[in-house]
Symmetry: D2
Subunit: 134 residues, 4 copies
């Protein structure tokens, strides 16, 4: 995306301490999707069996949801979310891409796909958002 | 719980880098529940509007699930999870307590309640686990 | 429960055509729970492999949620729900019991347990409700 | 789809009593999707406020999932499912279309969209399936 748009989105989320702690960054955003990514650090992102920890995958998915929905209709917060872990993520990089399935009134439903460095889906998410301004 | 039990559980999860990065620790465990907790650091755990970030709440809930289920029936991994955010968590400490609702064959369902420092429920979770050894 | 209370609840839901079609009835309700039940008819409630169909189990769970939440704080509608099927339900009767985990503002989270005639848990549900009147 | 394919799918599910009771039929199926539909009968499918009952929407979504997954990789059963109700369904017809997001080993994740007669999304679902034959 253009530098200006990326910069404004980064501004919007620069105060999210947990996303920063987790090393997740905004990678790309189009009119109907947003992608975030993170380089996986062995000492910070893996669980006891050497795969990317589930909380890290969730946090990336939730951040992709936040970037997309606050781009489409601020201010949107996560109301509920369901994630499914489909493969062990043995990788040095993950990306999470969010697309809105539907929005109606104060509510929206967003699908998020989390992939490993090889492009394999490792986690899927269905996020429900609450939009403050109808 | 007794020091020995706490120590063995800590051993089991000491290699979880993301839990360590997130500052989440095992607080307590009984025969049918496990509680984890974290002191909230303003620079690392809050989102842009000053409440505990959703990914942090999820990661605490998932860790409570992991501690409980691997205590009850190792090895158990998260297969899918649903979380609902019920209140903004403006607090300096969170706790997450997991209780197993049912286990059958390779599957288990665990309920997790995440509370703020005042004991108010801020997030609830329903976790589905896959147990390797039937 | 007393006849009067049961009657008023039945009145409230007598116009739910799908619940009637499905043969689900209000069985019991206390201050903090509601139970509905259905006698399983081989020709109407089973799937192709002879177990109670998942949609029937869901509908019983959703009705238990509806009875409880509209007793506690009308008017409440289902906003989202997650169900997990934990065992095949080979039985001639099912019951679904709903308990509220938490309510805050317009939102509530309710846990529902569906059991077979022998009392075994066959399905669990986590329901999120939207309450019209705060 | 061609008559032969439709007939074989109908054969596969003709013994599902609850789907028959609910009046849900297979409408269409392609290589990567399946659609089921139902004509809404005021006396059988509506709830107390005159909209299509949530259990009916769920049952249609679950049947679309079943038709698709058993076409792609029999035998698949619903392990868990999350549905979100996005609009009141005041309509005389609903359709539910299922598409598989990913399949890995014994597990698959399927997205289901339920629409009213006007094509508006009334319910979305994320279904997790367990596939018997890997």
């Amino acid at each position: 995306m253009n530098e200006e748009k990326l910069h404004s989105l980064e501004k919007l989320f620069e105060r999210d301490g947990y996303v920063a702690l987790s090393g997740i960054k905004i990678a790309e955003a189009g009119d109907d999707y947003a992608t975030v990514s993170a380089d996986i650090r062995a000492d910070e992102h893996l669980n006891g069996v050497g795969v990317v920890q589930g909380g890290m995958l969730y946090t990336a998915a939730d951040f992709a949801f936040a970037v997309l929905t606050n781009m489409l209709h601020p201010t949107t917060i996560t109301q509920s979310a369901t994630v499914t872990y489909i493969r062990a993520a043995k990788t040095d990089r993950i990306t999470a891409t969010a697309r809105e399935i539907e929005r109606a009134g104060h509510n929206c439903v967003v699908e998020v796909i989390v992939r490993d460095g090889g492009g394999n889906i490792v986690c899927t998410g269905s996020f429900n958002g609450f939009i403050s301004v109808k």
